[in-house]
Symmetry: C2
Subunit: 386 residues, 2 copies
């Protein structure tokens, strides 16, 4: 397989974008990536989107978005793994280039979620859980992650305040991210007194509903050296694994098997260990998720994730900075775009372009993007050639 | 890239399967493919499905179906390109093996469409057209293909009876396909007197709404030689292209650009010409589609597709047999599964296992799978090593 570089990243301001149709949101991010990469013609495109059908009544996004991007006739496809759809698009972009099928590939993601009413969005998201056994019985994602939180608190004495600290840290980071949906600081007090959603998770433990898109331009490393004017970033590890879609089929709610398995693959392929990672973007759809994932990635011993965040070990100045972008919590969570935006943040970090969010001496970064309650996980490890 | 073989095919009886949930339909076809391939453990899986969200309220099929298939934890993803979702899964399975990322891969497709009411299914399918400019103004697929038919009849003098002949031929072939939804002969008289859907297309010009699944097992050619007990079939050409999603943006309604472009790629990669193809499965979602596609693939001169079918040139005994399986028209059209089942039929033809549908001396076969009104096309060329 050929070495694959990321030579362009494109984002746009996320939020409630009622005046912009899905195609415009995607094209804005994609054109930013194309400009950043210094290319004009794409060979192919993959777009992560969880549910164009349920959110905006539009499937067949590959065809539509290639056309509206001015790249008519290229091979273009939409891929889906619930909230890990963006990470999946990155993997497929990698495969397309690594295999030699294409040279210049766009891997993007998009979701427009705020134009449906509240229960509509939650119901659409719930299709990432087991419809016949979980959703039919009344479970939606806040409830499923609340069960994970309860189990972790019971087994490892993780505290309500430690959950809150995840949200406080990520909002603090997000203040410095101009693309974030919520650029505002919050306190532990704000979180623990915010409205209850599913005990113990309160509204400030939950990532928001968001409209947004993100895009990357990938190409083979030899071409990248010729055309890129930016420091090069290489994909050195990929992990992709699934788990039972339903929580009730798992032996232990306090660990996410798909993340553990995907991490094993990615570390092996990259030939690095957790301690070699300088910066990580992980899937904090709920505060408890970041704690569990930080353990399952091997950054901390099992059960220490709560203490790690309250001790400041995951701050930008800490030993393993997690979610310098603000994470899903502050940046927003347009589900199909999230995994792509995570990679975009790591590219910026490895290029030294992260401004006030910059992690010092970042050479190797990791992204972890997750579908459902961990039914699927995508992990990417990137190395900067600074 | 490594050479890729298809060593297993799995189908199941398609139809109105109200008693079987989507997961059971998929697992039935997948287990048949696994048995046929003489393997037990998969390395990864791709599933084509157009809209699990709109049809059955279930996204995240990669996770769920890998689990229910007894292949927990493998990388598994759902991919979508409207009615070409199955063909897309085949391409990605190919890439996964060719690149060396996986050795044994399942490429499958599934759709469960008949449990929603009639307008619900048509509305869900319409999300493959341009929601903001076509569907908003009242267009659904019968109407869009009717416009293509009118344009072709006007420009090339294609007749109402020639359209009917496509349906008659495909039903004649489908009588010999035990998996087909409608195993019955029809006459030209039946077609031209059937109920009007969108002038000039009548109900017997339209493929049906169907529940069904199909699966293939793919692996690298070296492994295939060791483990397969069947004649080997190699993928020698792949084409994938898009076009404007909306008909109104095209200069000419009588040709499908995505098929023309994808065919160019596939013929070039396979180093064959249209006249080298011995058997083809093409996307006859409506009778006019088979006529247009048979021209765009280069089997006939532009405008000759109507005469070709009425002259019997596309019969099983003809110079280029098209849709020996019965096509979408008789076999049914569970949209995510269709592109996979087309490849399954060609594998059977190249292995000499097609029974009463067998095309004599079939060595090279082609499949053409299409999304929307031609907004995307996937083409595969297969060669038997008999």
């Amino acid at each position: 397989m050929r070495d694959v570089a990321i030579i362009g990243v494109g984002l746009m301001k996320w939020g409630e974008l009622w005046k912009k149709p899905l195609r415009d949101i995607f094209v804005e991010a994609a054109l930013n990536a194309i400009d950043d990469a210094n290319v004009d013609k794409l060979d192919s495109m993959y777009v992560g989107c969880m549910s164009g059908g349920l959110f905006v009544g539009q499937e067949h996004l590959g065809s539509m978005l290639a056309d509206y991007l001015g790249q008519k006739n290229i091979p273009a496809a939409r891929v889906e793994s619930a909230c890990a759809s963006g990470g999946l698009a990155v993997k497929l972009g990698y495969l397309e280039v690594a295999s030699g099928m294409s040279n210049i590939v766009l891997a993007g993601g998009v979701e427009k979620m705020t134009d449906v009413d509240g229960s509509g969005a939650t119901a659409a998201l719930a299709t990432a859980a087991d419809q016949e056994y979980e959703v039919y019985n009344g479970a939606t994602f806040p409830g499923l992650y609340a069960m994970i939180a309860r189990a972790h608190m019971d087994k490892y004495k993780t505290t309500r305040e430690q959950l809150a600290k995840v949200a406080v840290k990520n909002h603090k980071n997000g203040v410095n991210n101009p693309y974030a949906q919520f650029q505002m600081n919050i306190t532990v007090n704000d979180v623990v007194n915010s409205v209850m959603v599913a005990d113990p998770l309160r509204i400030l433990d939950c990532s928001p509903i968001t409209d947004g898109a993100a895009a990357l331009i990938m190409c083979d490393f030899e071409t990248a050296k010729k055309i890129s004017k930016k420091p090069l970033v290489k994909i050195i590890g990929i992990g992709h694994a699934t788990d039972t879609i339903a929580l009730h089929s798992r032996k232990d709610l306090t660990t996410l098997n798909s993340t553990v398995k995907a991490a094993e693959q990615a570390y092996k392929m990259a030939d690095v260990k957790p301690k070699d990672i300088n910066v990580a973007e992980v899937h904090d759809c709920f505060t408890i998720a970041e704690i569990v994932v930080s353990e399952d990635l091997g950054f901390f011993e099992k059960g220490e994730g709560g203490c790690a965040v309250s001790d400041g070990r995951t701050e930008i100045e800490g030993e393993i900075p997690i979610n310098p972008s603000g994470g899903l919590k502050s940046k927003g969570h347009p589900v199909g775009a999230t995994g792509v935006a995570q990679v975009a943040e790591i590219v910026k970090q490895l290029r030294g372009e992260a401004d006030k969010r910059q992690v010092k001496n970042a050479r190797i970064g990791l992204t972890q993007n997750m579908g459902g309650s961990g039914g699927s996980s995508m992990i990417h490890i990137l190395k900067g050639e600074l």
